[in-house]
Symmetry: C2
């Protein structure tokens, strides 16, 4: 993945149509979404599932969470920008919440 350029803003916006709940950063550097939960335990449980998914996919988001919320930030560190894999991870995170 190291040698390829990050996705352009245009390409990222096209892929974002598949995951409309996610936000693209101004510089098209990353995508993020905030998820809401009833309490800390529910947020923690979701974060654990994201962690398992990350290890399975070999692709690791940055995660901030606490009572009632979790924020997932995705980009590809090797290219310091967005890769199609980030959108695949985001779609899989969506499946975790609706499962």
């Amino acid at each position: 993945m190291g040698g390829i350029p990050p996705l352009t803003r245009y390409d990222a916006q096209q892929l974002l149509l598949q995951i409309p709940s996610w936000q693209l950063s101004d510089e098209a550097h990353d995508i993020r979404r905030r998820f809401e939960f009833r309490d800390f335990a529910e947020a923690m449980s979701f974060v654990e599932k994201i962690g398992e998914l990350a290890e399975r996919e070999g692709h690791h988001p940055d995660i901030c969470f606490g009572w009632g919320y979790a924020e997932i930030l995705l980009y590809s560190h090797k290219i310091d920008g967005l890769h199609e894999n980030d959108f695949i991870m985001a779609a899989k995170a969506e499946q975790l919440i609706t499962a």
Copy 2:
């Protein structure tokens, strides 16, 4: 806890002497520490332990983590500032890392 005022900056600084790896925010609103790890799995494992501690203590930090790091932010939401309990949680988090 709702009726009492948050700790003053002076009192927070005194308590901070017990947990010198933690940083006090400028307005003495919260304390935080960044922990470093070898990879994502180690950071996740620490975060899970913090989550269990938080549920046990009934006191919930905000946590940001990813590959090789976890940041713990502590303050008492009811008083929107620091309470002695935040320093107790921080000390217990320290014990998790040295255990």
